[in-house]
């Protein structure tokens, strides 16, 4: 004896399942954000040829320096910290280079990275550094340059373009001269 199979239920309506669509849209949006974050985190520091990020640096003396106002001059931007041992290796040489090039229109800026003011100022005094230095408040400047650590030095041409990047300390004054002196003029010879 066979029981007749009941009629199967009517198929689901053909209207779109908005709930499921919304979930997938949100999911892909979040994955997109994560992807963008991952890509950004994998980017290295800004490279040679890029326009240098514009920023303002408030020095320990209270002076405000805008990088945009330095157009037309070579700018040496050095990221450092008092707790950074390799930074000490180049500190004296950087000051020597500053003294050598200051009359040739080369500007030196020191950006103090995640440091405490008393220790930073003690560091400057210990190495006799006289060019402008200031704290990187909120790490905004270092984030704009996407630095990976300290010391890092960026040399900017008079046109505002990055022409040299140094990851780690300079080993000698000659290296600093070579980096500043080439290729846009004979500044090292005066």
């Amino acid at each position: 004896m066979t029981e007749e199979a009941p009629l199967s239920s009517t198929p689901a309506s053909n209207r779109p399942r908005w709930g499921a669509i919304a979930v997938w849209v949100v999911l892909f949006a979040i994955l997109g954000l994560v992807g963008v974050g991952l890509v950004r985190s994998q980017q290295g520091p800004i490279g040679v040829g890029a326009h240098v990020p514009l920023f303002s640096l408030q020095t320990f003396e209270g002076e405000t320096i805008n990088v945009a106002d330095l157009r037309g001059q070579v700018v040496v931007i050095n990221f450092w910290a008092s707790w950074c041992q390799p930074c000490e290796e180049e500190a004296a040489e950087l000051e020597q280079a500053y003294q050598e090039f200051r009359d040739q229109g080369v500007v030196f800026l020191g950006v103090n990275y995640v440091d405490t003011r008393p220790e930073a100022q003690a560091y400057l005094e210990r190495f006799g550094i006289t060019y402008p230095n200031g704290p990187d408040l909120g790490t905004r400047i270092s984030q704009a340059f996407r630095i990976r650590g300290v010391p890092e030095t960026y040399i900017v041409s008079p046109e505002g373009v990055l022409v040299d990047v140094r990851i780690g300390p300079y080993v000698s004054l000659a290296e600093i001269r070579a980096a500043i002196g080439a290729p846009w003029g004979n500044r090292s010879d005066g």
């Binding site: 004896m1 066979t2 029981e3 007749e4 979040i30 707790w83 995640v114 405490t116 408040l137 984030q143």
Partner: protein
């Protein structure tokens, strides 16, 4: 004369007692390590990734803890100290990210994902149960073997 002596015996102990208490009062204004670490544990080392400031062993972290100690001694509140660190080193030093901008996702996405996942599982279970019940109800009873059909017929006649 006697009155003066009596007064001296009253004033002298009070004076000596004050000498004992006052240094202790001065000591209690110095923040303790526990007070410093209570704030430091809510901050992360700006240099070392994912290391709370209260356990970070580096020299730089020791300097930052000293900064917290100094600010506590100045009478600053925890919120003021945290705000100072945010201004100096960015919002990433906070153990709990501020709920601004895209940081809202950190607070919304996990519970939302849990709720959506739970709801999806619940619907899946219900669908499986409904499908199993429907299948059982709609399976036609057909004897595969004529012998079985005869046996069932015989049982129905006798039973």
């Amino acid at each position: 004369m006697m009155a003066k002596r009596r007064a001296l015996w009253l004033v002298l102990p009070a004076f000596l007692g004050a000498l004992l208490v006052l240094p202790a009062a001065a000591q209690t204004s110095e923040p303790t390590d526990d007070q410093v670490n209570a704030i430091a544990k809510n901050l992360y080392c700006p240099v070392c990734e994912n290391v709370p400031l209260d356990v970070c062993p580096t020299q730089a972290c020791a300097q930052w803890r000293a900064t917290i100690r100094q600010m506590l001694a100045e009478g600053r509140s925890q919120e003021e100290i945290q705000q100072y660190f945010v201004e100096q080193y960015g919002a990433r030093v906070l153990a709990t990210p501020p709920a601004v901008g895209l940081n809202w996702l950190v607070y919304i996405v996990p519970p939302l994902a849990l709720a959506v996942g739970g709801f999806a599982l619940l619907r899946a279970f219900r669908n499986w149960r409904r499908a199993a019940t429907t299948q059982t109800a709609t399976t036609p009873i057909q004897p595969e073997d004529p012998y079985v059909a005869r046996l069932e017929e015989e049982l129905r006649r006798r039973g």
